[in-house]
């Protein structure tokens, strides 16, 4: 069940209504059953994967509590098991293909293995949550949870598919479901849900039609410079609206149950520097990487330059690999690592020469370069192979040519979505002001009719573009 499908919306309405009608003591088992049912809708046998994760993490948590002096080894065991699960389901084919390429060079016999296995939905997300939970227990931040708590934590249906990646200490206490119903849960939940559906169906899917065509292996020749840039920008916008749309639907669905999930996006294309981009894009993954990987690595060397630069490159390359088993993702991560290193080098120079840091021209230049660099990095992320990547990147930066091979609708729509991103902070601020103002003056036409009209318009847009590709990009990760 994809989030932007009618079966899911029916499931969501039924589950939310039943949840609030049930006595409090039945809510936890009900949400667990609903979460299991949601997960099973992707394939019943796959339920065994998050259940196994819950069992293993539960046992390790108990052992850590019983033997705190041996806790580190249980964390390593748990993390190794999670990474082994990921390697088996997600990276097996990628590893085999590359090993066999190497063997072919060495004229050795290729390795064969059983046929491909489908990827259990959300595995990249709940395995990271499991590792984070074990480290938090080890550091004494959370007490070992009950088995029921862990099952709910790893399989809570609003965020099981693609996050947000939550910490046990922010979600487990909420999964006691002790809140009484408040109308704001419904308003806030439906607001996010409807906006997410519009972002996904009316923007991301529509851009996806042209992006798929442009990045297809069947697309003949190298695009012109204009088309190369438009394709890269269009994909940057598509993936933002796709994943932000998914995140809004996830956050909205949780809010309907009175649960608050962390935010995942904060207008990422308004980033002024590469580190700023990572504080705005997929914020819960950035937070996980910072807390459990980047900070502990750099703590060992207290931020010394060489280990810092190597860790930035290494960690970001791993972030790329986390997104998918392909060299394009690895290159995307490496490029972002290089951007972060470049910015750190600039920061060191800025400390030495104060005038550089005060220059508005240089700040503006960083803002421009950050956007260009982020856009360029989307090319390997989306391209089907490195040959296509080099073709599009060379047309963008080296082999300049004019020409527009797509329908004018593509260029106009991409420009409109881009313009929306530019004014998004102002639009959101204005909407919040109107909402606040309406609240001060009591019931008004806006307060009475504003939301229903917005919901109807949003739902109509969602239905109008329902026939396009419905899969969320991040659900493949």
């Amino acid at each position: 069940m994809q989030f932007n499908s009618f079966p899911y919306l029916i499931f969501l309405v039924a589950a939310v209504v039943a949840y609030w009608l049930l006595p409090e003591r039945f809510r936890r088992p009900f949400v667990l059953v609903a979460s299991l049912a949601f997960y099973a809708s992707w394939g019943l046998p796959f339920v065994a994967v998050p259940l196994s994760v819950s069992i293993l993490v539960f046992i390790l948590g108990r052992w850590m509590a019983a033997n705190p002096e041996k806790a580190s080894r249980w964390v390593w065991l748990g993390a190794s098991c999670m990474l082994a699960l990921l390697a088996f389901f997600k990276y097996r084919d990628f590893i085999l293909v590359n090993v066999n390429t190497l063997f072919a060079w060495m004229a050795a016999q290729p390795v064969t293995f059983a046929k491909s296995i489908a990827l259990p939905i959300g595995i990249s997300f709940y395995t990271f949550e499991a590792i984070g939970y074990l480290i938090d227990v080890r550091q004494g931040r959370v007490k070992p949870s009950t088995f029921m708590d862990l099952c709910l934590f790893f399989m809570f249906w609003p965020n099981v598919m693609s996050g947000p990646i939550v910490r046990a200490r922010e979600l487990v206490p909420q999964l006691k479901f002790r809140l009484k119903f408040e109308p704001r849960f419904a308003f806030e939940g439906i607001d996010r849900l409807v906006w997410g559906l519009v972002q996904k169906n009316a923007v991301a899917n529509l851009l996806g039609i042209w992006v798929n065509k442009g990045f297809s292996t069947k697309a003949i020749g190298v695009p012109s410079t204009i088309d190369g840039w438009f394709l890269a920008i269009a994909f940057g916008l598509q993936i933002y609206f796709d994943f932000a749309g998914y995140s809004n639907i996830a956050i909205g669905a949780a809010r309907l149950l009175g649960v608050t999930l962390p935010e995942n996006f904060r207008q990422p294309y308004h980033a002024t520097t590469p580190p700023d981009f990572w504080s705005r894009w997929h914020m819960t993954l950035s937070r996980w990487i910072r807390d459990y990987l980047f900070f502990p690595i750099n703590a060992k060397w207290m931020g010394a330059p060489l280990p810092l630069y190597l860790s930035l490159l290494g960690v970001m390359t791993l972030v790329g690999l986390w997104h998918g088993a392909g060299w394009g993702y690895v290159l995307w991560g490496f490029m972002h690592g290089a951007y972060l290193v470049a910015y750190r080098l600039y920061e060191s120079a800025k400390t030495a020469h104060a005038a550089i840091g005060q220059s508005r021209i240089i700040s503006g230049l960083w803002r421009f370069l950050t956007l260009v660099a982020i856009t360029a990095a989307w090319v390997p992320f989306r391209s089907p192979n490195l040959h296509k990547t080099s073709g599009i990147l060379s047309s963008m930066f080296v082999r300049f040519s004019l020409g527009m091979a797509y329908s004018s609708a593509f260029y106009v729509f991409t420009a409109i979505v881009l313009l929306f991103c530019v004014v998004e902070p102002q639009v959101m601020r204005k909407l919040a002001e109107i909402e606040e103002h309406a609240g001060e003056q009591g019931p008004s036409m806006f307060r009475i009719l504003g939301r229903p009209i917005a919901y109807i318009c949003g739902f109509l847009l969602f239905m109008l573009f329902d026939e396009n590709n419905t899969q969320f990009i991040y659900s493949q990760f």
Partner: protein, 84 residues
Amino acid sequence: MLPDATTIRNAAREAASQIAGRPIKDGQRLVTSGLIDSLSVLRLISLLEKKLRVSIPPETLQPEDFDDLDVIVETIERVAKSAD
């Protein structure tokens, strides 16, 4: 011996203000607001170690353990307690 909470707070305010490049108020978020990043947290730890003459092993900590002055005081007291 660990200094009292007021001394830790004053040292934390001084160190955080030096790193952020502006005065830090009570309750002001440092990490979650984006005012300082995880590498600046390492510099903050280093400064606090010098000012308070305590050992703060960062390997077992997370950046948000230094998110505001109250949290910093709690973190340093917790670290000192676990070292005893």
